[in-house]
């Protein structure tokens, strides 16, 4: 395409990066926050103070579901764990509308949480591949295509960047486009293995959806394929005879012993209340990167172990391990922070790349006294995304504290607040121009983030000045992080202000 191989790679890198850069920025930012999704949820549910140990929680769950959901053929249960404080339940109810799924969240006392209804950190997690307001199917395809662009951009980025080590010693900060290039290089290279891993494994997480045509071509029956890959559990049908189920907590303790204490990812109860009721425990891959993904199936009536399966297919093991690597489910606190910091690097890599594209052309265009529409669009979108998304996150957290606790459709309203803020930031450049958006936006971000812990002080009883340790460490650190984000935004604002003053002086 270009005369030299490297030049055509530079072209490819620039354009694959720019076209989907903003989407990638949003995906990276929310995905990075999703590494702490359970902690964010804890922060957003300050009324949940007591955590029930799992064997007690499953008892509460059984009582709750026996009273509410005996008609459902299936219950899905997630118990509290090291990071999660609540039990989450799903069952089917024909009268529920939609696809007929009902969800309930139980606190440490086994009561359903109805006040301060929130999606918590889970919204950020879902948004990073499902987006919002659009069909999940198309959103996933869209994010997948963007990830493919990202993969090409990373590979071409490595090709065009030969002097990886040399550049560290010639780092130049605050010197225009050259510095933006250095910043882009620094954030890319420092966490390069992470960027490659996260993009590739991200594609792998939804691979069976993206490559469904390959499966259809290869196997006439798609189910035959899945049956060949994963061990199929025994199929047990309800007989229609009612029977009393054993306390789940007993079976849970037996299963825990059988799993050598490895946590359970989730529990499934089929045909509850029937003579053929069974309860399945799925092993969680949270202890190690490699896991056997064992499934234990017990009769819920007799407590007899009916089946114990493990994943044996090595290709499927690899796929699951790649997914675990992406989601960092196995990571302990230290490694989780490394994941988080690498994610921040990735977010900055995308942001600096986008700014670099703009700055490089800015000078040239100014000399020629031209301002094409595409250039303006990029500058506006840059400001609207790079400052708009953090602000949206801040408002999402703020709305959690400020909206009345019994507001109808509260969880959804928090999400509307998130998008409304982002939308305002996208409109802002049209009204005020991009450079003012940067300055104002940084200040608005600083104020928003700073105010989060103090709004908590006014609105709720569990806050910065009343925390009890060690129970409230997680909340404290999140408050601290919001203050730190506010500070960072304020430093950015100050820098932008000074630069503007310098520019004005030169003009005078």
């Amino acid at each position: 395409m270009k005369a030299r191989f490297r030049d055509s790679m530079t072209w490819l890198h620039t354009w694959t990066g720019l076209v989907v850069g903003w989407v990638l920025f949003a995906v990276f930012l929310t995905g990075t926050l999703a590494y702490f999704q359970h902690e964010i949820t804890q922060w957003m549910m300050p009324e949940v103070e007591v955590v029930a140990p799992p064997e007690q929680a499953i008892e509460q769950v059984q009582t709750f579901l026996s009273a509410k959901a005996m008609a459902s053929p299936r219950w899905s249960i997630t118990l509290p764990s090291e990071r999660e404080r609540v039990s989450t339940l799903y069952w089917r109810d024909k009268n529920a509308g939609g696809r007929g799924f009902v969800k309930a969240v139980l606190d440490g006392q086994g009561k359903e949480i109805t006040l301060r209804d929130t999606r918590g950190g889970n919204f950020l997690y879902r948004f990073h591949f499902d987006l919002h307001y659009v069909s999940v199917f198309w959103a996933r395809w869209f994010v997948g295509i963007c990830s493919m662009f990202m993969l090409v951009a990373i590979i071409t980025g490595i090709i065009i960047h030969k002097k990886i080590f040399k550049d560290f010693f010639t780092l130049q900060l605050f010197k225009g486009p050259r510095s933006w290039l250095d910043a882009h290089t620094l954030t890319s290279v420092l966490a390069l293995p992470f960027h490659l891993m996260i993009t590739y494994t991200g594609l792998v997480t939804l691979m069976l959806m993206y490559l469904v045509s390959a499966i259809n071509l290869s196997f006439s029956d798609r189910n035959a394929y899945f049956n060949a890959i994963t061990p199929q559990g025994i199929q047990i049908k309800a007989v229609g005879e009612a029977a009393n189920m054993l306390p789940f907590s007993d079976i849970y303790l037996t299963a825990q012993k059988a799993l050598n204490g490895v946590p359970v990812a989730y529990i499934e109860v089929l045909n509850p209340g029937d003579k053929n009721a069974i309860i399945k425990f799925y092993e969680a891959p949270t202890e190690h990167l490699l896991s056997d993904y064992r499934t234990l199936t017990y009769s819920a009536v007799t407590g007899e172990l009916l089946e114990n399966t493990a994943l044996t297919n090595s290709a499927e093991q690899t796929r699951k391990t790649m997914i675990n690597l992406h989601a960092g489910r196995f990571a302990d606190t230290g490694l989780r922070w490394m994941y988080f910091l690498s994610g921040v690097m990735g977010t900055l890599m995308v942001a600096t790349g986008l700014i670099l594209w703009f700055e490089k052309r800015q000078k040239k265009l100014k000399q020629q006294n031209k301002m094409p529409f595409g250039h303006k669009l990029v500058s506006g979108l840059n400001a609207g995304f790079i400052l708009g998304l953090p602000a949206a996150v801040a408002v999402y957290l703020l709305s959690n504290r400020l909206l009345p606790v019994d507001f109808t459709d509260r969880a959804q309203m928090e999400i509307h607040c998130f998008f409304a803020t982002w939308f305002v930031f996208l409109l802002y450049p049209i009204l005020r121009g991009a450079s003012k958006t940067w300055r104002d936006g940084a200040l608005i971000n600083a104020v928003l983030f700073f105010s989060i812990p103090f709004v908590s002080v006014i609105m709720i009883e569990r806050h910065l000045f009343s925390y009890q340790y060690p129970r409230d460490w997680t909340l404290f650190i999140i408050d601290l992080l919001t203050i730190f984000s506010g500070l960072t935004m304020f430093v950015l604002f100050n820098y932008l202000k000074q630069r503007q003053q310098q520019v004005n002086q030169i003009k005078v």
Binding site: V152, M207, A214, S218, Y225, A228, N313, A315, E316, T318
Partner: protein, 118 residues
């Protein structure tokens, strides 16, 4: 032919064609390569098709990226198009043939097993 050549020298059309070739041609090639190799491995060595298909799917994103890079880096657009699309066609036909042969073999084995049972 000369007219066509000058058309492709127009940078906009050239880029547009490359994008379509890389995205669609690359996807078609990747898809066919992903399903072809498992059939070949089954035919020659009796490897489990489901597993090798899964391995190929895991690799497919890498294959796709390399094809895209190849299409964008080449100087000879006509040659690349012919090679990519030609290879895709050959792989697709071979895949179909192999699948039919493998299917027939499987049926034969199943029939024999059924007769032994009787």
């Amino acid at each position: 032919m000369r007219k066509l050549k000058s058309l492709f020298q127009n940078p906009k059309i050239n880029v547009l064609y490359r994008v379509i070739l890389a995205v669609c041609g690359g996807a078609a090639f990747t898809l066919v390569a992903t399903v072809f190799l498992p059939e070949l491995l089954l035919y020659n060595f009796g490897y489990d098709k489901a597993s090798s298909l899964l391995w190929m799917m895991l690799l497919s994103f890498l294959i796709y990226s390399l094809i895209i890079i190849w299409v964008f880096s080449s100087h000879k657009l006509f040659r690349v198009s012919a090679q990519l699309l030609g290879l895709t066609a050959i792989l697709y036909i071979s895949f179909n043939q192999l699948q039919a042969v493998n299917q027939a073999r499987l049926e034969q084995i199943n029939n024999q097993a059924a007769q032994v049972k009787k």
